[in-house]
């Protein structure tokens, strides 16, 4: 039986926070309905899904009003709702595919024979055709998400909840997961609620769009086309990716320029094991180049190798004289301090690269390593704080910033000593349309000031803004 969801004046406040994440929400979802839930960051969409999935415990905050699943508290009916989350890696619970898919059904106490039958059926339903003992951690992001979905389907939920299930995937992975969801819901008739920033992908699979405003106020509700027509402007202004309303940074691609770095029979990999043969490539100076390719092809490894953080497994990385500036050899042979001003790398997760306790110190790290005078450091940092829109947060701990702010800070600290070559790993990942625009503007400023920026990315909007593109394919890479 597909589930019925009903919220009556429902609200939730996370422990230790003053404002309510959601408040006064009135919403009804009929059995078998498929709903796309939209709203700006901070509108409590994820909170609502977590509550429906029964993963919000009483000790994690307080609630008011009522939220029911078929007339009962979600926590009283565990397993009626199944939730798929955003990050594929962190949803791999057990190392082997078959074991991971069985985890949920086992927790519900389903008899062993039945668990095995359900796992086979669920993996078939999401089209994951791999041996049961395949290592789940080695699957591509798209396949990991389909595995998480299979694990949820094996629980036979009456309500399927998806919290930005495709935000971290390459374009092929996005469609893979979307189609698996559509197929599975068609087959089971379960009620579906999806939260996603990227509307275009999901609009055709759902039959209703619900828009939440800040604090969970219901702003619009109805047929997808009609809601997007009426509320498109409102949503786009608040960071939702609405079809036809992309925050396009209009920009004519710049003509190719002299290379700042080139590769020769380069093989990249980790621990001396090659993962990718890179065809000889030249990266133009003062241009934005997109580095694209499917999940797991080796984009990150290539970016880290070009940035002098990993040794080439084979072949050579050849910096132009303008980049080497008197140094011999490739970036890998340079000292850490010599990288400053030459090459900077921005990692996929900003938290990995924070070194200090305040935003101000974070921006000053490179400048101080170069022994700039305190006055010079202060002047540059103040300028950056202004441009990054982080002035008010100058003394805050970087770890306490929001995702979008952390990302701007990590890019800003890479630009503090303007590098001739800036490598970025998925810089726009997980950004809403507003933070996206701020970030791309920052990048393009760096390019205008003479940095060559190379972004490993899945993001079609970012690729559209780039001056050129290096497309990697499995086992080889092609310059397009």
């Amino acid at each position: 039986m597909p589930a019925v969801v009903e919220a009556r004046g429902w609200g939730w406040r996370h422990a230790g926070r003053r404002p309510w994440a959601v408040d006064g929400l009135d919403l009804e979802v009929a059995a078998g309905e498929r709903v796309l839930l939209l709203g700006p960051s901070g509108s409590g969409k994820s909170t609502l899904l977590a509550a429906l999935a029964g993963v919000l415990a009483e000790d994690q905050g307080e609630s008011r009003g009522s939220l029911t699943l078929d007339g009962r508290q979600p926590r009283a009916v565990p397993g009626r709702a199944g939730l798929v989350l955003q990050d594929p890696q962190s949803q791999v619970i057990l190392p082997r595919v078959g074991d991971d898919a069985a985890f949920g059904a086992e927790n519900l106490g389903v008899p062993a024979d039945e668990v095995r039958a359900r796992v086979t059926a669920a993996l078939a339903a999401v089209g994951l055709d791999v041996p049961l003992d395949t290592a789940a951690t080695r699957l591509s992001g798209g396949r990991q998400q389909r595995l998480a979905l299979a694990g949820v389907l094996a629980m036979r939920p009456d309500l399927v909840l998806l919290d930005e299930p495709t935000a971290n995937l390459d374009p092929a992975g996005v469609l893979e997961v979307r189609d698996a969801v559509a197929g599975a819901v068609d087959a089971t008739g379960a009620t579906l609620i999806v939260v996603e920033h990227r509307v275009a992908v999901w609009a055709e699979v759902v039959d209703r769009v619900v828009v939440l405003g800040p604090g969970g106020a219901l702003i619009a509700d109805g047929d997808p086309a009609a809601v997007l027509e009426a509320q498109g402007r409102f949503l786009a202004d608040r960071g939702v990716w609405v079809p036809g309303r992309s925050p396009a940074v209009r920009r004519a691609p710049l003509a190719p320029s002299a290379p700042i770095l080139s590769t020769e029979r380069l093989v990249v990999g980790r621990d001396r094991r090659g993962v990718l043969d890179v065809p000889d490539t030249a990266l133009p100076a003062a241009r934005l180049t997109a580095l694209t390719g499917p999940n797991g092809v080796g984009k990150t490894t290539l970016a880290l190798t070009l940035g002098g953080l990993l040794p080439p497994v084979g072949g050579r990385v050849l910096p132009a004289p303008a980049l080497a500036d008197g140094l011999r050899g490739g970036p890998w042979s340079w000292r850490s301090r010599e990288l400053l001003g030459r090459v900077s790398v921005v990692f996929q997760s900003p938290q990995h690269q924070f070194l200090t306790g305040t935003v101000r110190d974070e921006l000053a790290v490179g400048l101080r390593a170069l022994r700039r005078t305190p006055a010079e450091v202060a002047a540059r940092v103040d300028e950056l704080l202004e441009r990054l829109d982080l002035v008010r947060l100058a003394e805050a701990n970087p770890f306490t910033l929001s995702g979008g702010q952390q990302r701007r800070l990590s890019v800003g600290s890479a630009l503090a000593v303007p590098p001739r070559l800036l490598l970025l790993d998925e810089p726009t990942f997980g950004q809403d349309a507003l933070t996206w625009a701020a970030l791309v503007a920052l990048l393009l400023e760096g390019v205008a000031e003479g940095s060559a920026a190379v972004a490993a990315t899945h993001d079609p909007e970012l690729v559209a803004v780039a001056d050129g593109r290096v497309a990697l394919e499995r086992e080889r890479a092609v310059l397009a």
Binding site: A102, E106, G109, V345, Q351
Partner: protein
């Protein structure tokens, strides 16, 4: 082909390792330990683990045995002929014998673990603990989650170290910046642990009164053989130790 040892029930593997270790921990003489090491080395190939891998697992053991052996030979209780005397260092027959016995004991106690436990699959262990010993599911699954997290933390630590080089501070001040690096790992780790907990709860963790353990955790002929091998090692070591009159028990 999975090594035979990976087809033993994890509980058997733990049991056999415990059996051998408890008996050998109780004895301190050279002969018992030497026979045990010899028997273990002869039986180890039956585990099906490739020799190169087994050697790698034994490296920390060999290092520990060597360190203990050298230290005791230099500082151990003096007895019999003295070979060398320099400040606090006295090398004598007595200290050499004790050193040899200690080094052999470390090997004798460590080898069963290196063969039987070092490569144990966490999921199979969890299945055995849950379905055979009927330990509480939450406890078993928490252990399993911890194993998964440790894997991820290693990767995080490497990334954090790379990021320091990228930021221009990788050349010097390693020690001074260590606390910052540890803090970064902690923050990332907490976030990861939270996400994993949510992912597990989203799949109904703790939902049913009785969780199903859908993978069988059988005991079979191999388990009997493993147990026999353990008993053989113990019997040979203690038997020959007693027969030669060299067997000595701790605390006597």
């Amino acid at each position: 082909m999975t090594p035979l040892v990976d087809r033993i029930n994890p509980l058997t593997a733990i049991g056999v390792a415990l059996l051998v270790d408890v008996v050998l921990l109780a004895s301190v003489d050279v002969v018992t330990a030497a026979v045990a090491v010899l028997a273990e080395l002869l039986l180890a190939p039956l585990s099906g683990i490739r020799p190169a891998r087994l050697a790698r697992r034994a490296v920390p053991l060999l290092a520990a045995a060597a360190v203990a052996g050298v230290t005791i030979s230099l500082y151990g209780r003096t007895a019999g002929v003295v070979h060398l005397r320099w400040w606090l260092v006295v090398v004598s027959d007595g200290s050499l014998q004790l050193a040899l016995a200690t080094a052999l004991r470390i090997l004798a106690i460590g080898l069963p673990a290196a063969v039987l436990l070092a490569g144990m699959d966490a999921t199979r262990l969890a299945d055995a603990l849950g379905s055979r010993l009927h330990l509480p599911a939450r406890f078993v699954l928490a252990g399993l989650a911890a194993v998964r997290l440790v894997e991820v933390f290693g990767e995080d630590w490497r990334t954090i170290a790379l990021a320091r080089r990228a930021r221009g501070v990788g050349d010097t001040g390693r020690l001074r910046r260590l606390p910052g690096q540890v803090f970064a790992l902690l923050v990332v780790a907490l976030r990861r642990a939270g996400l994993l907990a949510t992912a597990m709860e989203a799949r109904g963790l703790g939902a049913a009164e009785r969780r199903t353990w859908s993978r069988p955790s059988p005991f079979g002929r191999l388990d009997v053989l493993a147990l026999a091998a353990g008993l053989l090692v113990v019997a040979l070591a203690v038997g020959i130790g007693l027969a030669t009159g060299s067997y000595r028990v701790v605390l006597t």
